[in-house]
Amino acid sequence: MSDNNDDKISLLDDAVGRDDAAIVARCRRGEHAAWDELVDRYQRLIYAIPRRAGLTDEQAADVFQEVFVTLVEKLDKIEQPERIRSWIVTTAKFKTWAVIRGRKGHYSPATDEELENELNSIPDAAPLSDDLLIELEEQHLIRTAVNELDERCREIVSMIYLQDTAASYAEVAAQIGVGETSISPLRSRCLKKLQKLIG
C-alpha cells in the first residue's frame, strides 16, 4: 500500500534518468555491455510489476521476456531515451494487463495512440494502481542510487534498510570492521549521500 498521497512526497518529479539516455545511446550503437547494464538496472523493476499484480511466476516470466524483446525491437524508436524508465513501466503494465485479460502471444501496439487506447481501457480497479507503480518506480530509483554509493555506505544502507530483517548496529559494525558506536554517524552520512544521489 502506498503512502504517497499521505505525505505528498514524490521522488519521481525531478528524477529523469541521469545516465539512462547515455546507456540507451550506447545500446543503439550496438554495445552489448550497455545492454547488459540496462538489463541489470531494470530487471528487478520489470519482474516486480507482474508479480505485484498477482500473476504467477510463469506469467511474470512471460511478461518479463516480452518487455525486453519489445525494448530490443523499439530501441531506435523511443523518442525520449532519458525517460526510458517510464517507457519500461508503461510497457510492463500494458503486458501485465494483457495477461490478466487473457490475451495470448506477443503483442505490441503499433502506435503510441494504440498503446494509449489500450492503457485507457484498463479499469481503475485493476491490480496495478498508479500508486503501486509509483511505489515500485521509487523503490527502483532508490536501489539504483544505493548501487551508486561507495562500498561501505552501500553495505550499511543495505543491511539496515533493504534486508527482510534489519541488521543491528552490532551486526553492521562486525561486517564492515568498525566499532559499534561509529555506525550511527556513518549511517547518517550515508543517508545524506543517498539523498543527494536521488536528487
Binding site: D3, D7, I9, L11, C27, G30, H32, W35, D36, V39, D40, Q43, R44, L45, I46, Y47, A48, A61, F64, Q65, E66, F68, V69, L71, V72, L75, K104, G105, H106, Y107, E135, L136, E138, Q139, I142, R143, V146, V157, Y161, L162, D164, A166, L191, L194, Q195, I198
Partner: protein, 161 residues
C-alpha cells in the same frame, strides 16, 4: 518537519517496504541474449539462414516405420532436416490449443527459438538438451526460427489445425 527530513523519511520508508526480488537467473540470461536479435538484424549479410525441410510427419498414435511392438505417440511427430542438424517437433492437441515440444539435434545451442504467426509471437530458449517448448498455442499457421550466434534455422510453415 523540514522538507528534506520528510523526503529522507519517505526514502527510508520506501526501502523498508521494498520486497522486490531479482528476476530468476535464466530470465536475466534471456534478456541479455535478446540483444543478439538486434545484432543479427543489423547485419543480415553475416547471418546464415537455413530453411529446414520436412522429412517425416507422423500423425498421432501411429508407430514409426512399421514398428510393431511400440505403441504410437499421442503427439504428432515431425522431423526436419536442416543441413548438418535436424529438428524434432512433437505437437500435442489440447482442448482448444496445442503444446509444442521440440529438440534441435546439432552441435550448438540456440540463443532463442521463436514461433510466429501474424501478430503473434512465442519465445523459448534451449534447455540443457537443446530442447524447447511452447504451450497453449492457438490453432493457425506458424513459422519457427531457431537463432544461433551466426546462423538461424527456419521452418517456414507449421500448420496447427
Amino acid at each position: 518537519m523540514r522538507n528534506e527530513d520528510r523526503k529522507l523519511e519517505h526514502v527510508i520508508k520506501r526501502m523498508q517496504t521494498d520486497n522486490s526480488v531479482d528476476a530468476p537467473a535464466d530470465l536475466i540470461k534471456f534478456a541479455r541474449n535478446a540483444f543478439l536479435q538486434r545484432s543479427t538484424a543489423k547485419a543480415p549479410s553475416m547471418l546464415e539462414r537455413i530453411v529446414a525441410v520436412l522429412k517425416l510427419d507422423l500423425a498421432p498414435n501411429r508407430a514409426a516405420f512399421g514398428e510393431r511392438s511400440a505403441g504410437g505417440s499421442a503427439a504428432r511427430q515431425m522431423l526436419f532436416d536442416a543441413g548438418s542438424s535436424a529438428i524434432d517437433l512433437r505437437v500435442t492437441a489440447n482442448a482448444d490449443a496445442y503444446d509444442i515440444r521440440g529438440q534441435h539435434i546439432g552441435d550448438i545451442s540456440a540463443e532463442t527459438v521463436r514461433l510466429e504467426s501474424a501478430g503473434t509471437k512465442f519465445l523459448s530458449q534451449n534447455d540443457e538438451l537443446k530442447g524447447f517448448e511452447f504451450t497453449s498455442v492457438p490453432a493457425g499457421n506458424y513459422s519457427l526460427t531457431i537463432t544461433f550466434a551466426t546462423s538461424e534455422i527456419v521452418i517456414d510453415e507449421i500448420v496447427l489445425d
